[in-house]
């Protein structure tokens, strides 16, 4: 095979042992309990892909947004570029990157980082831009330098929007990472794909992916509440 040998090529239904429920591709609680351990590794890979991709994606988009916020003209081209990038189906991007960076987690992470940009950049820049001009004027009037205005006024006020962006980026990364096995990076998707007609397998692997997304969602929701005490005060 060439350098591109995909795991798909070796796709075969793994032999499973169990009663008639299992041989009939059914939903078998007994089998699930006995075989939960085979989902641990894919789940960890999935968490790894998600956390690394969102962290790196955030660092890049944060730097880009600061640059765009200062320059003013950078926002439109970066937004357009990230939107077009986002339209490329993830499977296609994974496969196109494989010849360049190989069947590795790195390949998947590069693509996943690219996909986070559309949400993260947009929300960070919106958060900064939406800070009322009077607020910034007041800060300048109090003698704050531009740098202090950015870090002490604009940034804290942009936090809710930034966290909202992180929330969307993370759930969508969990979703896209189920296809990361096309880049040879494993994850829960590999598990789904391996035995896609077996109901028990589909429910457990798919369910874990959905739970993971929901868990990250709750974490960021909690973060949003903690980071915006004034909103809670207004609500009560």
């Amino acid at each position: 095979m060439s350098a591109l040998a995909l795991p798909l090529a070796q796709l075969e239904i793994r032999s499973r042992t169990g009663g008639t429920c299992v041989s009939e591709d059914g939903f078998c609680p007994g089998w699930i309990v006995d075989n939960l351990d085979r989902y641990v590794q894919p789940l960890l890979e999935h968490i790894y892909l998600t956390v690394i991709s969102v962290a790196v994606g955030f660092a890049i988009s944060f730097a880009l947004a600061l640059l765009a916020h200062r320059s003013g003209w950078l926002t439109a081209p970066v937004t357009a570029l990230t939107s077009v990038l986002y339209t490329i189906p993830s499977i296609a991007l994974f496969l196109i990157l494989v010849p360049v960076t190989g069947l590795t987690a790195l390949t998947a992470i590069i693509a996943l980082v690219a996909y986070t940009q559309v949400f993260l950049f947009r929300n960070i820049i919106n958060g900064l831009v939406n800070v009322p001009e009077e607020t910034k004027d007041a800060a300048r009037g109090m003698g704050l330098t531009d740098r202090q205005v950015l870090w002490r006024v604009e940034m804290p006020l942009a936090v809710p929007e930034i966290l909202a962006g992180l929330r969307i980026a993370t759930t969508s990364t969990v979703n896209l990472a189920t296809l990361a096995f096309f880049a040879g990076a494993g994850g829960l998707g590999a598990q789904i794909f391996q035995d896609i007609t077996f109901r028990s397998n589909v429910v457990v692997a798919g369910g874990l992916a959905i739970l993971l997304a929901a868990l990250f969602d709750l974490i960021f929701l909690g973060g949003q509440r903690v980071a915006t005490p004034w909103r809670r005060a207004a609500a009560t």
Binding site: S2, L4, V84, I91, V202
Partner: protein, 238 residues
């Protein structure tokens, strides 16, 4: 890279040239005996891909647009209209397709149904948000001019929400076109066929199909962007 990264016998450039050649010139399959690829097969797979995607989006529009317009107009169901998107985003497309294959069945209509479910949330949320974003003054003015409720929806709220609706349409289209790649897992031929059946189509087929589907998705996005411009009322264009 396979074999511990040592196998660099094929330079990157030639992998891509082979892939491009696969798109235009039929060649013998890996398994032997059959001609695969070439502009003929790629065109027909592209057509299948587009028909499946367009059908899913059309049905999703028929369901989500009236519902979103109505909910937005009466100002009810915010929780439903908003959270359907959050839930939709959290369900991995592969899990959705796998669920259909394992529990519902394979074939065109099952895949179509899965894609419709995928396409509804962004359309519904964006339609709702677009209508809710219409200034109450504009609606009051329309009412004052003697418009009926259905005239208000069609002549005031819909045109003013058109930009947001197209935003939802783009999101739906992007995810439907991307997920249609998984069609062959449920025996529906699309541009995903050379990818899923790489053992028949070979690496050139896999990469060639990936390139075509990426180009197709960008094209769909650009067409929808142009349509959005055309459909936005002149008064709303900045």
């Amino acid at each position: 890279m396979a074999a511990g990264g040592g196998d660099m016998s094929m330079p990157i450039a030639s992998l891509f040239t082979d892939a491009i050649r696969f798109i235009f010139v039929p060649q013998e399959s890996v398994t032997g005996g059959v001609q695969v690829g070439g502009i003929g097969e790629i065109s027909s797979l592209t057509a299948n891909h587009l028909v499946l995607s367009a059908a899913a989006i059309a049905v999703a529009c028929v369901i989500a647009l009236p519902l979103g317009l109505w909910l937005g107009h009466v100002g009810k169901g915010e929780f439903l209209a908003i959270s359907v998107s959050n839930v939709g985003r959290a369900v991995p497309t592969l899990a959705l397709i796998a669920f259909f294959i394992a529990f519902v069945g394979i074939g065109f209509f099952n895949v179509l149904l899965a894609l419709i479910l995928l396409a509804i949330p962004p359309l519904l949320t964006n339609t709702y948000v677009g209508v809710r974003g219409v200034s109450p003054d504009a609606v009051d003015a329309a009412r004052g001019m003697g418009m009926s409720e259905s005239q208000i929806v069609r002549r005031v709220e819909l045109p003013l929400a058109v930009r947001s609706i197209f935003g939802g349409l783009q999101l739906s289209a992007v995810s439907v076109v991307a997920t249609a790649i998984l069609g062959p897992l449920a025996s529906v031929d699309t541009l995903g066929t050379p990818i899923v059946s790489v053992n028949v189509y070979g690496q050139a087929g896999l990469l060639g199909a990936a390139i075509v589907v990426a180009a197709l998705a960008i094209l769909v996005y650009l067409v929808l962007t142009a349509l959005q411009r055309a459909a936005t009322p002149a008064g709303l264009k900045a």
